[in-house]
Amino acid sequence: MAEIKNILLVGVGGQGTILASKILSTALVDAGYDVKMSEVHGMAQRGGSVTTQIRYGEKVFSPIIGKGEADVMVCFEKMEALRWLEYVKPDAKIVINDFEIPSAPILVGAEEYPQGIIEELSAKTEVSVFKAADIAKELGNPKAMNIVLLGALVKAMGIEDMDWDKFIAENVKKGFEELNIKAFRAGMAAI
């Protein structure tokens, strides 16, 4: 079977993983790949842990990624890297947004935010860490964090040579095209 690439985007409901995945999928379809993408709706979106998955290759059957199958994992929130770790290959590339969103059990003091995640994972595989939130803030809109992360993902996948400006402009809110293209480039430059 022709090789299939698996990309896992993990984060917290409301962080914009779905939009980033949509842009990525559009570009991959345009490049002639068979692409499948899966997302989670409903209850989990209310501040819960969410994942969006993209699989592409010559022919893709399953729309979701099983354990030990992801080639690249992009973590929109740091702790989510741990939760989804068993879904990645031992030599996967991991992109981590150094950004913490404490979950409800942490906020009420029932659990602790785990420490040393980046150090631990860096010792095991190729990990790129950067502060996407700060970059988006500097560009003037913290909400563009997802597009900054998309830029980093595209760099990590080695698929920079597509018409990303076009795909971004087509998929983001009108009036925010330029900001998002800037965010995307900043993300590419960050890792």
Binding site: M43, P63, G66, E80, P102, S103, P105, E120
Partner: protein
Amino acid sequence: MTGNEAAARGAYEAGIIFASAYPGTPSTEILENLGGMYKKDIYSEWAPNEKVAVEAAIGAAIAGGRALACMKHVGVNVAADPLMTFGYTGTTAGFVIVSADDPGMHSSQNEQDNRFYAKFAKIPMLEPSNSQEAKDYMKIAYELSEKWSTPVFFRMTTRVCHSKSIVELGERTEAIPFKYEKQITRYVATPANAKGMRVRVEERLKTMEEFSNTTDLNKPEYNGTKVGVISAGVAYQYAREVFGEEASYLKLGFTHPMPMDVIRDFASKVDKLYVVEELEPYMEDQIRAAGIECIGKAVIPNMGELDTDRVRKAVFGEENPTLKSEQKAAGRPPTLCAGCPHRGFFYSLSRRKDVMVTGDIGCYTLGSAEPLFAIDTTICMGASISTGHGASKVFEKIQPGKKVVSVIGDSTFFHSGVTSLMDVVYNRGTSVAVILDNRITGMTGHQQNPGSGYTLMGEPAPAVDIPALCMALGIKKENIHIVNPNDLQENEAALDKALGSDETSVIITKWPCVLKKITEEDRKAFDLSKKQCKVDPEACINCKMCIKTGCPALQAKDGKVVIDSGSCVGCGVCQQVCPMGAIQKVGE
């Protein structure tokens, strides 16, 4: 396209002119698409519940227009009554019911396998395995429905509904509307008429079985002869990847009635036969009953959803190598949003000891979680008020003094809470019904409902007057308390009055969902000016009373509480519980 977008497209291409649904994950977007993109050609509406949606679509189909009804798996339970008899009468124009099942319970209270409904109702079932099939099968479903004059059961699952894959589109073909004729023996299911219908149902079943054995929807793909795999729906996609190019496949798209001749022939050509299906052994049981040996649930789990990894492990005992960590991520359950109007009321409710709280289906189910723990039961949509009534009657006998409060959302109240409240009033119950009116259907992503003042297609509509409705049911005006749930004093006062009354009481909490797109009407009715809460670090003694509201915008950091300005909307609940007056609203 997602499977839902594709199913909507298929219905559009099939020339339907009527669609009705009640929102429910993972089915919601089918109607959202029809009511948005295709509203020029198709009349679409949100019904107050699934039974109403199916009945309205039945009327549309009998009148002569192709019709669609969509719902999540548990919605079919609500709609089962009309569906079962409609299976007897049959239809004039094409009728399809979509059942979107949720293996793995991503957003549901159970993971029932609705394929049994097709068998139960003796109607044909189609199961798409990706978006292209969701579109194509929908068109086929309408042809079959009219060919056999039967409702068609269209079974999807979360991963078919919410995964995107490439779809080739077709054109809309306008179905020629049937001319309505009165046919009493056909459509009036009196016992006398139904006896005739019953015979025709069995005859139809035989015709359908012949079709099942000859259609391309159930076509074998022969590769090697060692292993054969029978599968359907998204499980086929997992199996196809795990068993690879060596195995032979019998992928079933038409799964009721099952193509037993095709299966017998396929089984005879392979050494080992696997049946890979999600949830119950629906296919396996029928295959075994036909005397065909196969491997199915002996290895494949019957709980939760499958994926390639689970199938591989079940069949071959192999697991992919993966990365592991010594540490575990802290839990991240979904929570009520910062500024959610349910929080204030649940906070007040959580202070009441010796009160049983019966809950319902919606965002407010999250009020059962830490730190509020404000809900005792959640069964199904509409159950809160009736469950509470039964509990209250028993407490009167065995535990006098124990009070019951039932909480239900606005959309859920319209869904099936009204009849429950009628039960309480009529039977002189004293349980307190709380209608959490956040002006929209929240959890599924903000669909209009009979109380919101707008329809699915964006037209202004009369809004249900909830207090007037309660009065019409027989509740006295003085026993109806309308509160702003963000105001804890108002909540307390209303709870005191309602719990102290020996008559049926209702509390209506009225404040729009924090994620709602605000309308002109909302702006007139509520003060929604931008505000934020801030903690004075000098005054904060880190008692964490505010954190006990469970608001995700609050965090204790270095001995003080800080409020995240990105998510705080200034609802002021934390401000009211702070014993030191350390929290202030700014931006007023």
